[in-house]
């Protein structure tokens, strides 16, 4: 817990996690694909407006299982990052994700999503193109998908832009990733009126994998190599995909109807509140 009198900019443990999660050498969706899905077939476009390069989506084989994989791609170099909008998704990206999710459902393939975004793209065209509605409908689509779904937060889990790909039967997080309702900087700017209070906000938001696991909001924390995922991307990818396969092995045993009802039960029970007694 942050102390109320903590010095501004004091490097809290949560803040260090946020920095590791943003490391440019940290493995991203395309690295996971290159290492573990040799036959990946990338598909493009939302069939309405365009193709969002901030999201990579396609078919492939993980182990012996055909899956649809959908993930944010931020890019490693500045040029890549600009092409990929730093992993900030536009409505066409969420629509591409929904399209691929439905394709998976049609052919009975599980869906794996890899979340790594600072947030949805904040721009005029994105807003006018229905950003809010696209996120809502993506959540709605994943809520009702009659195939197993597994999400891994591999880097940044920035707010609604992350949740749009993160409603799943199992939600995993890498040890040094973060997942929050708001970025620590934006939170700091709002409540402390000072973005430099990011470290303070990061601690207050309880956004680390271990915090969220102890709050019961995620299912599995995947440990990273010492120093963070960027010190050994190959090993990180192996550990994550191993956990994904374990989750899929469990989930593919369940009937679609059972999957849907368990998923609904899980999300409808989410919340922390008290019940007042009547007089």
């Amino acid at each position: 817990m942050p102390e109320p009198g903590l010095d501004k900019g004091f490097p809290t443990a949560a803040w260090e996690t946020v920095q590791i999660a943003r490391h440019p050498e940290r493995p991203q969706t395309l690295d996971y694909i290159a290492e573990t899905i040799p036959d990946f077939l990338e598909l493009s476009g939302d069939r309405l407006h365009g193709d969002d390069r901030a999201i990579v989506a396609g078919l492939g084989t993980l182990g012996k299982q055909r899956i649809v994989l959908i993930g944010h791609q931020k890019g490693h170099t500045l040029k890549e990052r600009q092409e990929r909008s730093f992993g900030m998704t536009r409505p066409e990206g969420y629509r591409k994700a929904m399209r691929l999710a439905r394709l998976a459902e049609k052919f009975g393939f599980p869906v794996v999503t890899l979340v790594d975004t600072p947030g949805a793209y904040p721009g005029k065209d994105a807003e006018e193109g229905g950003q809010a509605g696209a996120i809502a409908r993506s959540i709605e689509t994943f809520a009702g998908l009659a195939v197993p779904t597994v999400t891994v937060v591999i880097g940044e889990g920035g707010s609604g832009g992350a949740l749009a790909l993160a409603v799943a039967d199992r939600v995993l997080m890498l040890e040094n990733s973060w997942y929050s309702v708001i970025s620590p900087e934006a939170c700091a700017a709002l409540v402390w009126r000072d973005a430099a209070e990011g470290p303070h906000a990061a601690a207050a938001l309880r956004l680390t994998a271990s915090d969220l696991s102890s709050l019961g909001l995620i299912d599995v924390v995947v440990p990273e190599p010492p120093g963070g995922a960027h010190t050994d991307p190959g090993e990180t990818v192996k550990r994550v995909m191993h956990q994904v396969q374990l989750a899929l092995r469990e989930l593919t045993r369940l009937e679609p109807g059972k999957l849907l009802s368990l998923r609904q039960e899980k999300y409808l029970a989410m919340g922390s509140y008290t019940v007042a007694k009547s007089k």
Binding site: A126, A132, G216, Q264, G271
Partner: protein, 291 residues
């Protein structure tokens, strides 16, 4: 067992009635001029015109209880879900503690939470009506807003009452961290239940409808109405300008602009809202009696 379940999360539906204190009604000061067009107003003129300026049609922010009075048939309203109250799962402390902020919001608005859940009739149609009040912590959506929404949706399904929800919100409630983000998913699961039961679901978007509310239950309804001049956006105008350096038009995100971009069904003046809502209810319920 998830740790928060034992703290009441899985509690069975308790149908106790905790009667909310009536908040002080919105007041028009003596000799007041319209905040927007500066025209002098007659005493009581604003209330009579449903808090819309009779001269420039500016729509004043409306407290939740005023909204009930405007939409529900007289004497038909019962308040439900009042027993659900906020916890403090993160022990969130910024400049003040979350429980302190909560107590202040309760004192200011007379509400127990940002979401008021009501069973009532609207022009004779039995309705499950929810209202998010911007005056209560910016109408932000935390666990209680999600739970009250869900229980209201459940009642809508059980009693086959159309679900009508009025939005005004700054988004998710930061002080509950990821629990708040999860309410976006929870309310959408609840709305799906309503949809699966073929019970109509209508949302009314008022100023402002933003962030996690705009990107969840507000936009998955069968019919979406919006009040004139209301601003809706996922990201705020300031964030967009800072991130992309785009110049935004003065009507950015307005109801009228959302209509042009296909994001809402109609823009309805508050003075015609009840009649329009009743018409939507009549259409969706297949009622042909007054055709």
């Amino acid at each position: 067992m998830r740790p928060w379940c034992s703290a009441g999360g899985m509690a069975k539906y308790v149908t106790i009635q905790v009667v909310p204190k009536e908040p002080p009604p919105a007041q028009q000061a003596e000799g007041e001029r319209c905040k927007k067009c500066n025209t002098p107003l007659d005493p009581g003129e604003l209330k009579r015109s449903l808090w819309v300026c009779p001269h420039c049609s500016y729509h004043y922010p409306l407290p939740a209880h005023e909204r009930v009075a405007q939409l529900a048939d007289q004497g038909s309203a019962t308040f439900v879900g009042e027993e659900f109250r906020a916890g403090d799962p993160l022990q969130f402390f910024d400049l003040k503690s979350y429980p302190d902020r909560m107590a202040e919001a309760q004192a200011k608005t007379g509400l127990t939470e940002a979401f008021l859940a009501v069973l009532c009739s609207v022009s004779g149609h039995a309705t499950a009506l929810g209202i998010l009040d911007f005056n209560f912590l910016g109408g932000s959506m935390g666990s209680v807003v999600g739970e009250r929404f869900y229980r209201l949706a459940q009642t809508a399904v059980e009693q086959r009452r159309p679900l009508v929800v009025v939005a005004s919100s700054g988004g998710a409630r930061m002080q509950e961290g990821l629990f708040s983000l999860m309410q976006m998913a929870k309310t959408i699961f609840a709305a799906r239940m309503v949809g699966a039961a073929r019970v109509p679901y209508i949302t009314i978007l008022t100023h402002p409808t933003t962030g996690g509310v705009f990107a969840s239950w507000a936009t998955v309804a069968d019919i979406i109405l919006a009040e004139p001049g209301a601003v809706m956006s996922f990201a705020g105008a300031r964030v967009i300008e800072q991130t992309t350096h785009e110049k935004l038009p003065p009507d950015f995100g307005s109801s009228e602009s959302q209509l042009v971009h296909g994001q809402v069904d109609m823009v309805v003046d508050r003075r015609e809202l009840k009649a329009r809502l009743a018409e939507c209810l009549r259409m969706l319920t297949g009622d042909t009696s007054s055709a």
